[in-house]
């Protein structure tokens, strides 16, 4: 049987974080869809499971906003064309602002979850 990932020990991505993770992955260089999914999965030891079905609409959404640009290219030593996505300078800016928003949010949640005891 094909491996079906167990759901219990995997964390579903919060809405809106996928865009940020894609942009961050593309900061390392141009990637195609499958590589992006694998990179996110592998760098979190398979803890974060990218929903493959939502990855591609997300990529097109980013392309539409001109945060990434896309081009069909044939990688060296292969005879297949893949659609490679690249970070644009607008995308870099977007990544920065999303990163700081994410930091703010996690800090705010942390203050509720683990409040500093007042005495």
């Amino acid at each position: 049987m094909p491996r079906i990932p167990p759901t219990t020990d995997r964390i579903e991505l919060l809405h809106g974080t996928l865009d940020m993770l894609i942009l961050r992955t593309l900061l390392l260089g141009p990637r195609h869809g499958h590589e992006i999914a694998k990179h996110i999965q592998r760098s979190t030891d398979d803890l974060l499971q990218v929903e493959h079905g939502s990855l591609y609409p997300a990529l097109h959404r980013l392309e539409r906003r001109a945060w990434v640009s896309a081009r069909w290219e044939t990688p060296k030593g292969q005879n297949r064309e893949f659609k490679y996505y690249r970070l644009t300078s607008a995308g870099r800016k977007q990544l920065n602002s999303e990163e700081s928003r994410w930091k703010q949010m996690t800090a705010a949640i942390a203050r509720i979850m683990w409040p500093v005891e007042e005495r």
């Binding site: 094909p2 869809g33 493959h52 079905g53 591609y56 609409p57 097109h60 392309e63 539409r64 659609k83």
Partner: protein, 138 residues
């Protein structure tokens, strides 16, 4: 020169940015299947599993289609805005054009209304054979 200015943006817009989506998704399925085969899953099983992991492809393509069509609406809005600004920039010319169009349409409507009532519609009488016409004009 003028026609180029009009037709170039139209031509650019007619390119479907989502037309290659099927190919992109197929690439993904192929790569995933290869990976599964490397992990020891048998040929057709790997293909099926890869397809299943991606999910409903027509749904994905539809979602991508919406991503790109909503931008067309935005572009339409921008175009309308641009046209309006152009009209406001040559206010005198725009006013003359709008006035002459208005007068032309109005005059045509008025004349047609008269001709329609006088000549085209049948007279509002019940028994034609019992009615008489006086005078020799018209």
């Amino acid at each position: 020169m003028f026609s180029k200015r009009i037709f170039k943006p139209l031509a650019q817009r007619s390119v479907d940015p989502y037309a290659d989506t099927a190919r992109e998704l197929q690439n993904h399925v192929d790569l995933e299947a290869e990976e599964l085969r490397d992990a020891g899953v048998k040929g057709s099983d790997a293909e099926c599993a890869a397809r299943r992991m991606l999910g409903n492809q027509s749904l994905i393509r539809e979602e991508i289609y919406t991503v790109w069509t909503s931008i067309r609406l935005e572009q339409l809005k921008q175009d309308a805005h641009y046209a309006l600004r152009g009209l406001l920039r040559n206010l005198g010319f725009s006013l003359v054009a709008i006035l002459s169009l208005g007068l032309g349409i109005g005059a045509n409507t008025a004349i047609f209304t008269f001709v329609n009532a006088a000549f085209l519609r049948p007279l509002p009488i019940r028994r034609r054979s019992e009615s008489w016409r006086f005078g020799n004009s018209l």
